[in-house]
Amino acid sequence: MAGERRQGILSKLVDSTGAGLGTKRLCEVCAAVTGMSGAGIMLMSGDVPRGSVCTTDDVSNIIEQLQYDLGEGPCVDAFRQDRPVLEPDLDSPSTPRWLAFRGPAVEAGVRAVFGFPLRVGAVRLGALNLYRDRPGPLTDDQHADALILTDVAAQALLVLQAGATPGKIAATLEVGANFQYVVHQASGMVAAQLDVGVGQALVRLRAHAFGNDRPLAEVAQDVVARRLRFDDRSGERDPVP
């Protein structure tokens, strides 16, 4: 039973054109098998999102970006709690949660969102995010498929990374991934501008993005392009003095 389900999923992953398994296809299969509008895979470590490995569309991209920026959402919870986190009606949830994430996600068109932890045994890698543009719970079938998909996806990520040069991220994992490098570059610049540590600089960047209702990556891009400064020479309105 579970074996047949897994076999169906694996055959979808391997049939294509014979090209090697890529993360893009992995995400697409996750969305297609569960009948969702879109899917994304987020890497996490130490309870913090590290970046997105793949997304199927703009909306799932926004879902991952919001969680990276805000540190809350279904993937973050699924990873931290090590269990599936299901929100079948994001527009009017039965229990209030994700106060910062919910509004922009609904605005982007998300009506139901589900996070599943990605793990191989005790090794935890991140979370799979599934969303749908209309509300409603997962059926038992969809839920069972999602559990197998996360199992397969987690193992696939490890297989891809296992081929990498030590100290490097596998090139096959970098394709289509967004590890938010611009945010870290901007952190380094802001740290130099304010003469603070990079950790504190990142907090300032996040606060600015949140206070101005802008994506963190966009604010970081402005810093790197030298359109925005955080020191006295700037005219920017940094909400955190």
Binding site: G167, Y181, H184, S187, G188, A192
Partner: protein, 282 residues
């Protein structure tokens, strides 16, 4: 719900996935396991129980000890032991159904001679070896085993891709022979032991790869932060800042990530980096 656990219920694709995870190349189910899955109810229960314990953080010695105990229950043998080939090439006892010194010594003796050594060398099962008649072949082992009250010994290979990684060793007190069905069942239990060991290796490998991935991500983050800091302090763009970090690392024979860490920590000012073309720093 790891790949190998599913292979116990066996589909080709799952096996393919498990193989790719464990780097088993093109081994087929039959090559690794050799024997068809048994159908007896008691065995089936044993397999389910063992499969349930094949989660990632299981203790491999505990699992194999339980397996040795099950051999005694299911196969009507007096003692069972699992021997593995050590990296040096000799056989070592890893689990036993009995902690009696006499029995343990019998397993240990087989580092030099006995059915396990034969099984390891030939890759073939060595079953129904009547200790009363094998005196010439294993003088030391046969005498000790008879002295301990055993009448016959059996060894089943633990196979992986044509390589023998160890053997399941069985001792009987009564004279009767093991039936072909018993031998099949014993081989199946030896196969489960092999899977248990592989699963253990797979889990350890997953941990290592995940740590490498996190380490690589962390290194990359530090380098990006250092690029930003150098770019800001030295009025460079990101590409120029990176080139300067890399040149400094190369000419001082340092790792890029270590130079980046020094920059971030402030232990080395950005101005101290080797300049590329006309020096900009004062």
């Amino acid at each position: 719900m790891g790949g190998l656990r599913s292979t116990l219920h066996g589909t080709d694709l799952e096996w393919a996935a498990a193989k790719s995870l464990l780097g088993l190349g093109t081994a087929t189910w039959a090559e690794v396991n050799g024997a068809p899955m048994p159908r007896e109810a008691t065995l089936a229960r044993t397999f389910v129980e063992l499969a349930d314990s094949l989660v990632a953080d299981f203790d491999v010695v505990e699992l194999l000890t339980r397996l040795a105990d099950r051999c005694v229950d299911v196969l009507d043998v007096a003692a069972a032991g699992i021997m593995l080939v050590a990296p040096e090439g000799d056989l070592r006892v890893i689990a036993s159904s009995s902690e009696a010194m006499r029995v343990l010594e019998l397993f240990e003796l087989q580092a030099q001679e006995g059915p396990c050594v034969d099984c390891y060398r030939t890759g073939q099962p060595a079953v129904n070896q009547d200790l009363a008649t094998v005196n010439g072949r294993w003088p030391l082992f046969a005498a000790e085993a008879l002295g301990a009250g055993f009448r016959s010994v059996h060894a089943l290979p633990m196979r992986l891709r044509g390589t023998i990684i160890g053997a399941l060793n069985l001792f009987r007190i009564d004279q009767g022979e093991m039936t072909p069905a018993d031998v099949d069942a014993a081989q199946a239990l030896a196969d489960v032991a092999t899977i248990g060991i592989l699963q253990h290796r797979g889990a350890a490998e997953a941990q290592v790869v995940n740590e490498q991935l996190n380490h690589a991500l962390n290194s990359r983050v530090v380098i990006e932060q250092a690029k930003g800091m150098v770019a800001e302090r030295e009025s460079l763009d990101m590409e120029q800042a990176f080139a300067r970090l890399r040149k400094h690392a190369r000419s001082h024979n340092l790792r890029l990530v270590d130079v980046a860490r020094d920059i971030i920590a402030g232990t080395m000012p950005a101005s101290a980096l080797d300049a590329l073309a006309p020096a900009k720093h004062t």
